[in-house]
């Protein structure tokens, strides 16, 4: 399980910049990021090196954020690998809320996919049993989690 920082942003110019500036000023490094949008607002989801520090900086700037547990999984960088993983979830009736990926290779032949499951713990147990490698905060960001 990895902590993801999620931020509420209005869908208008300058809002993303504002949030990023708060993080930059706080010395927080972002290692992965995705934005989901609706017509009125968006959600910025990130993996950062110091999630606790990020949450504090955002909170004191009056920006609404939360920490969400997500699952970081190593997937082979070959055709059909993601398909195989997703197929396994369907068979066990595990619902994926959303996912995003690192496109750069994490190891020689693997990339990292971040999953948000309805039920994080069950999903991780299943993945582990099937031999998937789950990554920790430290393995992804190269830093110890700042609240541990």
């Amino acid at each position: 399980m990895v902590k993801q920082v999620s931020v509420f942003l209005e869908n208008k110019p300058g809002r993303l910049e504002h949030a990023l500036k708060v993080l930059a000023d706080g010395g927080v490094n972002i290692v992965a990021l995705t934005i989901a949008e609706t017509s009125g607002f968006g959600l910025l989801r990130m993996l950062v090196d110091q999630p606790t520090k990020a949450a504090q900086a955002l909170n004191s700037a009056g920006i609404t954020s939360s920490e969400t547990p997500v699952t970081a999984v190593e997937i082979k960088d070959t055709p059909g690998s993601l398909l195989a993983a997703v197929k396994g979830f369907k068979e066990r009736n595990l619902n994926i809320e959303y996912l995003y990926t690192f496109t750069e290779r994490h190891t020689e032949d693997c990339i990292v996919v971040i999953f948000r499951f309805e039920n994080c713990e069950t999903a991780e147990r299943v993945l582990w049993k099937e031999g998937y490698k789950l990554l920790s905060h430290e393995q992804i960001t190269g830093k110890k989690q700042d609240d541990a």
Binding site: Q4, S6, F8, L9, E10, R15, A36, T38, G40, F41, L43, R45, N59, S60, G62, I63, T64, S65, S66, T68, E97, Y98, R116
Partner: protein, 432 residues
């Protein structure tokens, strides 16, 4: 109780006192104010027609327009040498209205405010921080004189500067805080965001004296919970005297109008007919003792209802329900009457939604559109789009079923809606 003999006066006695004072007050207006005299003569009314209290229905109304036309001193019943203070409305909706007070009027003003404070459990042992604006607005000085009349230690800090407010609450041992309900929430926000270390519950603060804008029961619960205080409503309007026209007692169910000084009626705002007790309509006030600026059947534009309920506090004075809106705040949207306070109630009822919202009215083609902007606080935030969208559509449904019109909910970032230290601007109407 601050003036028990008046506040618990048996109804019959009270009514005869009211009649006697009403006749004096109408005479005061007729004999000393040319505008009143002309207005009454034209309508065929004469003060001698007042034989019983109900005859007040024959008296023509005083409207806000008439007050404005007489700017600044046209409705004064005393020469300036007898006037010791002048207050004025902000005049945001047109010209300002000016009210003058004689020394005796100021005395009555202080007494009724002291009655309010005593009704909230205040005594001369209290330390009262006045965070209403001082100046032409009657809130600051009104509370100030009332608190001194009660004998409480009065802190004239005025509005704004929240860090300083907190410092004085802590250092001076403030027990009662007088401010607008939106400023009370502003303080709670300020503590949550900027001063999480500040423990309001560890201070002596126990009572909030909140007024000068309409607020809902849900807002009361939130203020009480977040600030750890008992929040009481104080009501008044500068034309009638200022704060202190009515106040809640420990029951927190309706506000007792101090009827030995102010006579209240409820009318249908369309027809001007007096409505039977218990019905909702516009409140009309008549001052019974004011010397410098008598108001006779003043149409307040405030919407409420009046009733008697043998209150356990022992006061015999009529109760008014918390003001639920204003006839001039009333929004007519696609032919439906909508009060911003109704929208506020819906938002507050909905789990976790804080009342930081703004209503924006616009016209799309021939149709009126209502947009309600609601701030997304950490308490209602979700990492999933479907939850946030579900909350918005849930609120939309609730508003549709409560108000009978549909509105669009827009989720906005915290603190993007302007906070004012005085009255919150809840409605932006772009239809004109």
């Amino acid at each position: 109780m601050f003036q028990k003999e008046y506040e618990t006066m048996p109804r019959r006695e009270l009514r005869s006192l009211q009649l006697e004072r009403l006749r004096w007050s109408v005479r005061n207006a007729y004999d000393n104010v040319e505008s009143y005299r002309r207005h009454y003569d034209q309508a065929g009314f004469h003060p001698d027609q007042l034989k019983k209290l109900d005859d007040i229905r024959r008296v023509p109304f005083l409207t806000k327009e008439m007050m404005r036309e007489n700017y600044p001193f046209g409705l004064f019943a005393r020469p300036m040498e007898d006037v010791v203070r002048l207050h004025s409305s902000s005049g945001t909706t047109g010209n300002a209205t000016v009210v003058g007070y004689t020394a005796r009027d100021i005395e009555v003003f202080a007494e009724v405010v002291a009655r309010c404070l005593a009704a909230y459990g205040g005594t001369k042992k209290d330390v009262l921080q006045v965070a209403y604006g001082y100046g032409l607005f009657t809130g600051g000085l009104g509370l100030h004189y009332g608190a001194e009349k009660l004998g409480a230690a009065t802190i004239p800090i005025g509005g704004g500067n929240t860090d300083r407010q907190l410092m004085l609450i802590q250092d001076f041992g403030t027990t009662m805080l007088a401010c607008t309900p939106s400023y009370a929430l502003n303080i709670a926000d300020h503590i949550a965001v900027k001063r999480p270390d500040f423990k309001l519950r560890d201070t002596n603060l126990r009572v909030g004296i909140l007024g000068a804008e309409p607020w809902s029961e849900e807002m009361r619960l939130e203020i009480e919970e977040r600030l750890g205080i008992e929040a009481y409503d104080i009501y008044g309007l500068s034309e009638v005297i200022g704060p202190g026209v009515s106040a809640e007692c420990e029951k927190k169910s309706g506000l007792h109008i101090f009827e030995d000084h102010f006579y209240a009626e409820i009318i249908d705002p369309e027809t001007g007919e007096v409505l039977p007790e218990g019905e909702k309509g516009e409140i009309v006030y008549t001052s019974l003792t004011k010397e410098a600026c008598p108001v006779i059947r003043y149409r307040s534009r405030d919407i409420s209802r009046l009733y008697h309920d043998d209150c356990v506090c022992g006061r015999t004075h009529v109760k008014m329900e918390k003001v639920s809106g204003r006839t001039d705040d009333m929004l007519i949207v696609r032919g439906v009457n909508v009060f911003p306070s109704q929208i506020e109630s819906v938002l507050m009822e909905y789990e976790g939604t804080e009342p930081h919202y703004q209503i924006v009215l616009d016209r799309r083609g021939a149709m009126d559109d209502i947009e309600i902007q609601v701030e997304v606080t950490p308490a209602i935030f979700s990492d999933e789009l479907k939850n946030l969208q579900g909350m918005a559509s849930g609120l939309e449904e609730r508003i549709k079923s409560t108000l009978g019109v549909s509105a669009e909910i827009t989720l906005v970032e915290p603190r993007t809606i302007e906070r004012s230290l005085g009255k919150a601007k809840r409605v932006i109407d772009r239809r004109q």
